[in-house]
């Protein structure tokens, strides 16, 4: 069930999985002049901080999350010449190797799509209200800490 509080057509926050091919097909529809499509998929790793992870649970802030993602997406469209873009982020319980997030960007020339997709991911990591809780095989549950490296990564886009 998508929690599209704000009816933003290129932002989806949902529990269910997504299919890359069909999302890419939808993204490209009606844009014949696209020459490049870059996609990023984030997946659940089976290790974090040296520990095996059994379950990852994602919480978000309904309403604010969608707005924050749309703001990042529009900022990317302002910085680079893009034809279309899309962000899907899953919430709820996920397991190792599951897909967590999809960022897809289509443009006429490849450089813009590469930069924009990377930019969106770097900003999503620090600016979109999601929180992760992981369960270890021994049953221990802990909230995942934010990373200094994600704050650092954002700096490359300073204008």
């Amino acid at each position: 069930m998508a929690s599209n509080h704000t009816a933003l057509p290129f932002i989806k926050v949902q529990q269910q999985d997504f299919d890359l091919t069909s999302e890419m097909t939808k993204l490209r529809q009606g844009h014949k002049n696209i020459g490049a499509v870059v996609s990023f998929i984030g997946t659940v790793r089976d290790m974090n901080e040296g520990d095996e992870v059994s379950v990852l649970e994602l919480e978000h802030y309904p309403g604010m999350t969608e707005k924050a993602l749309e703001k990042i997406r529009l900022e990317a469209h302002q910085r680079w010449e893009l034809e279309a873009s899309l962000i899907i982020h899953r919430i709820g319980k996920l397991y190792p190797a599951d897909q967590i997030v999809l960022v897809a960007v289509a443009s006429q020339h490849r450089e813009n799509a590469f930069y924009a997709a990377h930019f969106i991911m770097d900003y999503l990591k620090t600016n979109a209200p999601f929180w992760k809780k992981e369960t270890l095989p021994n049953g221990d549950i802990r909230w995942v800490d934010s990373r200094v490296s994600d704050q650092e990564a954002k700096k490359r886009w300073a204008v």
Binding site: G42, L58, E59, H60, Y61, G63, M64, K67, A68, H89, I100, V101, M121, L124, K125, T126, N127, A128, P129, F130, W131, K132, K133, W143, V144, D145, S146, R147
Partner: protein
């Protein structure tokens, strides 16, 4: 009235995800003083936690952000999506 939301470890620690209280605060800072006065976990989570993040009406805010009746104020830790 104002609407207050708590997310992630704040929600768990404070034992609630939302509440409505009368609007008597000029800024987020004033609200934090009132909530911290509840003592115990409230004091620790809201005034001694350097990781506290604040949003007012879905926008990232700070302790100095003004608030008024009808506002939605959220408290949460640094985000970890993606």
């Amino acid at each position: 009235m104002i609407q207050i939301l708590y997310f992630a470890n704040f929600r768990e620690l404070l034992g609630q995800s939302e509440e409505k209280i009368p609007s008597t605060h000029a800024t987020v800072s004033d609200l934090l003083v009132e909530l911290a006065a509840r003592g115990g976990d409230w004091k620790r989570a809201l005034t001694e936690n350097t990781q506290l993040q604040i949003a007012v009406n879905h926008n990232i805010a700070s302790r100095e952000t003004p608030i008024k009746a009808g506002d939605e104020i959220a408290f949460f830790p640094p985000v970890t999506g993606g």
